[in-house]
Each structure stands twice: as C-alpha cells, then as structure tokens.
C-alpha cells in the first residue's frame, strides 16, 4: 500500500486546559509521538480536524502561533456532540488531530505595514494565532491595533492575554463589550465592534485589516472599513464552513467554486466579492 491513510489523525496529549468563558475552553495539545512532533510544522491561518475519540471529528483553527514550538492550541465552544466529547476530557487525555490544512495569512507580505485586527466573541482564536505570530516578529510591522469585543465581560476569551496586550506599549488594544454586558469594574469600552472601529478611526494607509467574527459583526464592520478607505484587497478574513475531510473531497465546504478547506480558509474581501455568499 503506497498511499498513507490521509484520515488517520495524530495522537495528541492534552497538556493544559484553560477555561476561557462559559462553555469555551482552550486545549494545549502535545504530540504523543515525538518524531511526528519534530517533523510537523504549520503556518498561521491553517486549521485542523480535532477528534474526540468516541464522538467524532470537528474543524477548528489552530489558535496558537507557529512561533510557539512544541504544542498547538485550539479553542472551542461546547455546542455539539464532538465539542461535548472534547469538553469531557481532562489534562493527560488523548485527542486526535489531522492537519495542518488550508492556506495561510501571508504575513511575510505585510512586512512594514500597520496591522488592524478586528474580532468578535469566539472568533478571536484564529486571529490570536496571527497576533502572536506578528508580536513574535514585532520588528516586521508598524502599528498593531486590536479591536476585540464580546457580548459580555464573561464572554471575552484569552482574558490574561488581553491584559498582556493591554500592558504592552507596542500594542493598541481596544477591548469592548456590548451595551449591558459590562460589569461594575469594567474599564474597557462599551459598544458594538463596528462603532469602536469607527471611533478608533484607523488610517487605511499602509494598513492590513483582519476581520473575524459573527456574520452580523462582519456585515456591519465592512462598511465602516470601506468608509475609512480600506480597499477590498487590504481586508482579510477566515471562513469556517462545515467540513468532514479537510482535504478537498467530502464536498460540503465550498462557497461557490472555492473550497474553503483548500483555497481558504483565508480570503481577502476582494476574493470573497467574487464568490457567492455561501458561508
């Protein structure tokens, strides 16, 4: 048998579990097989299929940066059978991982540019990989601005990292919660993400914007970016359609002619404008 089994996952041991928000966890995963660990690489933007043995596989981004070696991280919300199976796991338990799959954020092309990250809710994980990748290569870039919002203070993910970004002089973090989602001691902003972006008034000049969030946030943020002068070529996002195989065969993740698993998940707005809105 010359071809390997492309559906066979790597076995990963859970090294750390972080409770991020209600129902949302981050797993740090380490390869059980050390040879596989040293041979394995990925680039920011890529995704994988994560197995809860006994329940099945689900698709999530790789939420950690490729600059942080020796492990990968994924962040997921418990919503279905597989994520419930994953949520039952404890440190030391084994899960499966196939990947990396898909295309990448072209950060090499962004050298010398300003970066504007805009994320909402549980959509920060894919951008968190890029953020840490870029912070670990901080000299490559000019200003780095992060606008992140969630429904409530409790729903913000990566709370300790938000604090770290807040304290860094080389990062401009604008953290916000929806009106009514603030707590008495909340010192961040209150308001929907598109409004906060508009108030921040970032210059489109030499700037790349990365937008990831729920459809309504994206829908309302894109016109703001357009108004600010951002071109469709300078706006990036990452799609997460339902997948089973991750390798361009099972036939469900396409948006028009484009397979999210192969041609994506990273797209510029200019590319998305050429595709039907099947996402």
């Amino acid at each position: 048998m010359s071809d390997p089994n492309i559906y066979l996952p790597h076995l990963m041991r859970i090294g750390k579990i972080t409770q991020e928000a209600p129902g949302v966890r981050t797993f740090r995963l380490e390869f059980v097989d050390e040879a596989a660990a040293s041979a394995w690489t990925f680039k920011t933007g890529q995704f994988g299929l994560y197995s809860a043995f006994g329940d099945g596989e689900s698709t999530f981004c790789i939420a950690s940066s490729p600059t942080r070696k020796g492990y990968i991280e994924c962040t997921f919300r418990e919503v279905g059978r597989v994520t419930a199976g994953l949520a039952d796991k404890e440190v030391g338990d084994i899960v499966g991982f196939r990947g990396p799959y898909g295309n990448v954020f072209p950060i090499e092309q962004w050298k010398g540019k300003n970066l504007l990250f805009i994320a909402g809710g549980i959509a920060l994980p894919p951008l968190r990989s890029v953020i840490w990748n870029c912070l670990d290569l901080r000299d490559w870039f000019q200003d780095i601005t992060i606008v992140y919002g969630a429904r409530s203070v409790a729903d913000l993910v990566y709370k300790h990292e938000l604090k770290e970004w807040q304290e860094r002089p080389d990062v401009n973090l604008l953290c916000t919660v929806d009106p009514g989602g603030e707590t008495p001691d909340w010192t961040g902003k209150v308001g929907f993400v598109p409004l906060i972006v508009e108030q921040a008034n970032p210059s489109p000049e030499n700037t790349v914007a990365l937008v990831c969030g729920p459809p309504i946030m994206i829908k309302l943020t894109l016109p703001v970016l357009a108004k600010l002068g951002f071109t469709p070529e300078s706006i990036y996002t990452t799609l997460e359609n339902r997948m089973k195989c991750g390798v361009g065969k099972c036939g469900r993740c396409n948006t028009g002619k484009s397979y999210v698993c192969k041609d994506g998940p990273v797209y510029t707005l200019a590319q998305l404008n050429q595709l039907p809105a099947e996402y």
Binding site: I6, L8, E240, K244, C250, G251, Y279
Partner: protein
C-alpha cells in the same frame, strides 16, 4: 488505437471461466424483482438479458456505501489507533454501460486531485472494466450531451458492442490486454465492422459547453428554486449517481473504542452544510439543487477539466418526484442570465 476482435456469444462461458480461474470476482447486472443490479456471477447465463442499466451505479466497487477509515481502542489517557486496509479483491465489472465506465475518471479526480485516497486507489487498482455498448436508450439518457456516447470507450478496459452472433471487442488498455491474455483464442481479430450502426441513437438536447460557460452568470437566477420546488431532499439522485462522491465521516463507538466510518452523503440534505451554530450556508432546497448542478457542470470542469456528470440518467429514473435532470439542463440552457 484499440485492437479490434470478435468474441462469439458462446465464448463468454470460457472467458468467465478464465476470469474466475484467475481468481477474479466478476460483477455483472443480474435481474431480480424487475430491476437489475450488479452482483457476483461466474457464468454469462446469470447476466441479465435485456437490461438498460442497473438502478444503482458501479461506484460502490471503488467507493463503498460505508467503509472503515480507522478503528481504535481507548482507556483513560490512552488511545491505540488501528489503520484500516481496504478489502480490495481483483474484480471484473462486466456489462456496465459506457456512461458508467467513464464515471471512474470523475471519481478519480476528486479522490486524487491533491491528497491521495488510499481506499479508493486500492480498489480501483484491482478493478477491470468490460463495458458493453448500448443498442438502446431511454428518455433519461443524455450521454452524448456530456461528451460520452453509447459506444464510448473511456473507462472501459475492454468494450464489447453487441452484434450478430456475439460482440465486437475493443481491447483498450493494459488491464484489457491482461484479460485477453487469459483466453487469447477467444478473441478473433476483425476489421471493417460498422460499430456506429450497432449503437443506439442518443440525441443531444442541449449545448453543454455553452451551459457551463453560462452558469456563473445564472447563479442568482430564480430558476434553481423553481426547479427545486418538487424536490423532497431524499438524496436518491446522489446515491444512484456514478459520479457523486460527497461523503460524510461518522463515529461508531463506545467508551472503550470504536471505528471511524466514511459513508455516502448528499448535497441535497439540509444537514450537509449545517453549522454547529445553526447557521446554514445553503439554507434552502433551491440552494442545494443549484449546488448539485453547479458542482457537476461548473465547479468540476473548472477544477478537474472534466464534467461531474456522465448523462446516464440514473438520477432521473430514481427520482420519486420525477425531476428530470436532462429537462432541467435544457431549461437552464434556454434561460438568459
């Protein structure tokens, strides 16, 4: 260029015996309860006499309805994975029609365009195809509109065309020559046979290249939801289709272990694209019907340089609400973007 031979009807007995003696399973259309399906046979008299096509397609020989991709045992802190090996036996498909024979290339395109699928490949490697040309057709057939024909050779290792006293045999590939070599005396060299005169006349009802060129501009046409109003989303079209390859991956397991299975799926199902959030990129049956047409007639040619439809008409014959693929394609051909 194929080598041309005549094969007498009587010599099929010896051919089947030679194939069986060589350790090959022969699958051929057999008749039961008024329909033909592929089943193991050892003698030509077991083969259905007057079949147009089987109801199900031959894809199951290389892409089973359900197959194991892997299995495992587990205990707390421990998982042991077991790779799955496809159970691929040397198989000769006898008597499938040229449309279906040509469908293996469409499956091959998906299973190997980037990552290679060992399960499909192991079975395809073990498969030889003795196709039989069509002397008749029905209203569901439209092979000639999609690049095929009632005597097309693509995908067959040997193509037999029925003629008086037996068959015109075209030996087309190395696999075909290997079969010929098992019983070389049965294949009598011939020439001058008018093959076209032996074939059904399949009219071409629409201009497929023109339709394919037009589809991107028709994406937002109300046509697709209109055509889909009858669709009950049963998925029969996908299951009988020789090129439909979309699949699901499911777990069959308990706390101590289990197996991961691949199973046929259909883009006609609501859950096919349903996100965990409840959002569905193809929310309506119209969007799902459009996906079916576009996958086969637009996305496939763009990505793989070939169509995802062979015009066999199985979907039309199987549809419980009489959706006729050819009629829908003709209609789409007549709509202006």
């Amino acid at each position: 260029m194929a080598d041309l031979y005549q094969l007498s009807s009587a010599s099929l007995d010896a051919l089947f015996a030679a194939l069986t003696a060589d350790g090959r399973r022969i699958l051929a259309p057999t008749e039961a309860d008024g329909r033909s399906e592929l089943n193991p046979v050892t003698r030509p008299d077991q083969v259905a006499k007057d079949y147009l096509q089987t109801t199900l397609s031959a894809k199951e020989t290389v892409f089973p309805k359900v197959e194991r991709l892997l299995s495992y045992t587990q205990a707390p802190g421990q998982v042991d994975l077991v790779d799955a090996e496809p159970h691929a036996v040397p198989t000769v498909l006898f008597g499938i029609r040229p449309c279906e024979a040509s469908a293996f290339a469409a499956l091959d395109a998906v299973f190997n365009w980037d990552y290679r699928d060992k399960f499909f490949n192991a079975r395809l490697e073990q498969l030889s195809v003795i196709g039989v040309s069509c002397a008749r057709r029905d209203d569901a057939c439209f092979c000639t509109a999609v690049g095929g024909g009632p005597g097309a050779t693509k995908g067959s290792d040997i193509l037999l065309t029925p003629m008086a006293g037996g068959y015109l045999a075209e030996v087309l590939t190395d696999k075909g020559r290997a079969i010929q070599a098992l019983a070389p005396d049965l294949f009598q060299p011939t020439s001058g046979v008018d093959k076209a005169a032996l074939l059904a006349n399949v009219p071409t009802a629409f201009d497929q290249p023109a339709l394919t060129a037009k589809l991107p501009a028709l994406f937002d046409s109300p046509l697709w939801s209109e055509q889909s109003l009858r669709c009950v989303g049963c998925g029969a079209c996908a299951f009988v289709c020789p090129t439909c390859v979309c699949f699901d991956i499911q777990e069959e397991a308990d706390k101590t272990g289990g197996r991961r299975l691949r199973a046929w799926d259909s883009c006609g199902y609501h859950m096919f694209t349903l996100h965990a959030s409840g959002h569905n990129p193809r929310e309506t049956q119209g969007a799902r019907w459009r996906q079916r047409i576009y996958h086969k007639f637009s996305y496939y040619p763009e990505r793989y340089g070939q169509l995802g439809c062979v015009g066999c008409g199985k979907c039309t014959r199987a549809c419980p609400v009489d959706m006729n693929l050819q009629e829908h394609l003709v209609e789409a051909s007549q709509v202006n973007p």
